[in-house]
């Protein structure tokens, strides 16, 4: 029986983040998704240097040109390069997504902890989140845009308001489970202040559900921003966004289907990748789910 190899405990102690990353990359779908997101990120950040043309540069001689070596994604009704416009659109989508995640995670966590741990205004806060969630995402966003204005900040405020209640719900749910656990009870028994319990014991344990939720909020806010832009209720149409590119392409799509295909694929690939990463994160962080699926 000497030839049985016994799995040795890992000699190298991996950091939790490193372990998580390795667990994620092991799933092919997640790896591909991360690569797609990286490409979108590079295209967005590097757009001013990498884009082959200026996003507003018109070239009437080459209007509605099909995809070619000179214009990978073709040109639109003004002869503007669709690839370059998609890259600038990615800048806007990712910026909106990032700040909406930041805003809704911050506000949602504060509400969740106040409501779930401190139990202050729990009833009121949860009824308000119920009320906010009674509006369909797009309806609330579009109504807020009507009241706020049409700047990038307004889009972030509108979408942040839409997604904060969802994060708050998740955070509160997780806090309610955590506060019954013994290590929180122990910390309280040792005389730790509420502030210490929240900062040292609660928040680190909220990180994984919030990380998963944040990924989905990122995906949803890109979809909702695209819908707002499509409806003409997003940022002004002077800056190219995936949504307003599709809206403008409607008239020409019979002759130039790449005009709706290119920005559409940008949305689908980005949102799909974010959802796949979110799923992967959830599975990697939740042992129960890993067993089930």
């Amino acid at each position: 029986m000497s030839d049985i190899t016994v799995p040795l405990p890992a000699t190298r102690t991996a950091s939790p983040a490193g372990l998580l990353l390795r667990r994620l990359i092991r799933r092919r779908l997640v790896l591909i998704s991360l690569l797609i997101l990286l490409i979108v990120l590079v295209a967005a950040v590097g757009a001013p240097w990498l884009a082959p043309y200026a996003p507003r540069k018109m070239d009437i001689a080459h209007r509605l040109a099909a995809p070619s070596a000179a214009h990978w994604f073709g040109t639109d009704e003004f002869g503007r390069d669709v690839l370059s416009r998609c890259m600038y659109g990615a800048r806007l989508s990712l910026t909106v997504g990032f700040f909406v995640v930041l805003a809704s995670l911050t506000c949602g966590t504060v509400i969740g902890v106040v409501s779930g741990y401190l139990r202050q205004f729990d009833g009121v806060l949860m009824r308000v989140t119920d009320a906010l969630m009674a509006f369909p995402d797009i309806l609330l966003a579009i109504a807020l845009m009507a009241a706020l204005g049409a700047s990038l900040t307004d889009v972030v405020i509108a979408l942040g308001t839409v997604y904060t209640p969802r994060v708050a719900r998740v955070a509160r749910g997780a806090v309610l489970v955590l506060r019954e656990l013994q290590f929180i009870e122990a910390a309280e028994a040792l005389g730790a202040s509420s502030r210490r319990v929240i900062l040292v014991h609660l928040l680190p344990n909220l990180l994984s559900p919030l990380l998963v939720q944040g990924t989905f909020v990122f995906a949803f806010s890109i979809l909702t921003e695209a819908a707002l832009s499509f409806l003409g209720a997003g940022v002004p149409p002077t800056s190219p966004t995936w949504g307003n590119m599709i809206a403008q392409a409607q008239e020409y799509m019979q002759d130039a289907d790449w005009l709706i295909l290119a920005p559409g694929l940008c949305i689908v690939l980005t949102v799909l990748s974010l959802q796949a990463v979110g799923d992967g994160l959830r599975d990697a962080l939740d042992p129960r789910l890993r067993r089930l699926t």
Binding site: L29, A131, L139, A143, L148, L231, A233, M253
Partner: protein, 313 residues
């Protein structure tokens, strides 16, 4: 049971009270003067002041709030600024179309989502499961307006199978009308079917692991009987909940879909109201749509309690 229903209704009233308050806040407290917006940049200060007093916007905010809540409680939604009719009338004219579209999409989403979800859970880990899960994830990532435009391009423009957009001539029959709703219902239903599929799959997976399912299998019951009579019976309550939740998504999605297909429904009304800053219409639509959502979920909660004896009242 009666106590439970009464408690749920009381909870609903509280939520609707807060919904109305949020609607008030959106249109009154957030910076920006509706009167100035409505009259446009060319308006004089006197014009704006006159409109403000006509709309009651010059009263102190708490007074405006009380007035607003009073009229909401009496179901008075005010007059549209641009449509020369009451908001209630405008909404009532357009509601049937949106209702048809939502019901059609919800039906479609359920018909696609539930069987695929069950199949995927039963064949867990197989290639079929992975393919279906990938399909669901892709479905949830597609913007409904993009699905709509793609459908128009292929089914209507290229293949001439269905009318491009609109709702037919005024004298069109119900069946003719239905042909105008097929593509919108698909565009709207696909993202929801993906959601329902994933949820069905998860709750079926949970149930399939239960001991009583193993017992049923061990008894030698046909696999289909076990799946449908034993497992799905217990998964369906949570599936019902997610179908209720998708109603919100469908009502929101209708706003976009109706714009794509030029359907004269509530969604179309909302978008034009937002673009024209027709505040009374925006307020009315927000109240009515969220009211419908809250009512649907109340109905689901009650149905849930009736279907699942484990729910405590």
């Amino acid at each position: 049971m009666t106590g439970y229903i009464l408690r749920r209704i009381a909870g609903m009233v509280v939520v609707m009270f807060l919904v109305a308050t949020i609607v008030f806040l959106i249109s009154h407290v957030i910076p920006g003067d509706p009167a100035a917006v409505m009259l446009g940049p060319a308006a004089t200060a006197a014009d704006i002041a006159a409109l403000r007093s006509r709309l009651g916007l010059d009263a102190p905010l708490p007074v405006q709030y009380v007035q607003f809540m009073q009229s909401v409680a009496r179901l008075r939604l005010g007059e549209s600024i641009f449509l020369s009719r009451s908001v209630a009338q405008a909404l009532a004219e357009r509601a049937p179309l949106t209702l048809q579209l939502t019901v059609l999409s919800a039906g479609l989403a359920t018909l696609i989502g539930v069987p695929i979800g069950v199949l995927s859970a039963v064949k867990r880990g197989s290639f079929l499961d992975q393919a279906l899960t990938a399909f669901a994830m892709a479905g949830a990532s597609l913007p409904s307006f993009w699905i709509g435009l793609t459908l128009i391009e292929f089914l209507a423009v290229r293949l001439h199978l269905l009318p491009v957009a609109g709702y037919g001539p005024p004298d069109a029959t119900f069946v003719e009308r239905l042909s105008y709703l097929i593509m919108p219902a698909i565009a709207l239903g696909i993202p929801s079917s993906a959601l329902i599929m994933r949820f069905t799959r998860t709750s079926m997976l949970d149930v399939l692991q239960e001991d009583y399912v193993r017992t049923a299998r061990a008894k030698g019951l046909a696999p289909l009987t076990v799946i449908l009579k034993h497992a799905f019976r217990n998964a369906r309550t949570s599936v019902l909940t997610v179908i209720g939740l998708t109603v919100a998504g469908l009502l929101g999605g209708a706003i976009v879909t109706e714009t794509v297909f030029a359907l004269p429904g509530v969604g179309n009304l909302v978008v034009s109201a937002v673009l024209r800053r027709d505040y009374p219409v925006i307020q009315g639509a927000l109240l009515v749509i969220s009211g419908v959502y809250v009512l649907v979920n109340l109905a689901i909660d009650i149905l849930y309690a009736m279907l699942d004896p484990r729910v405590r009242y």
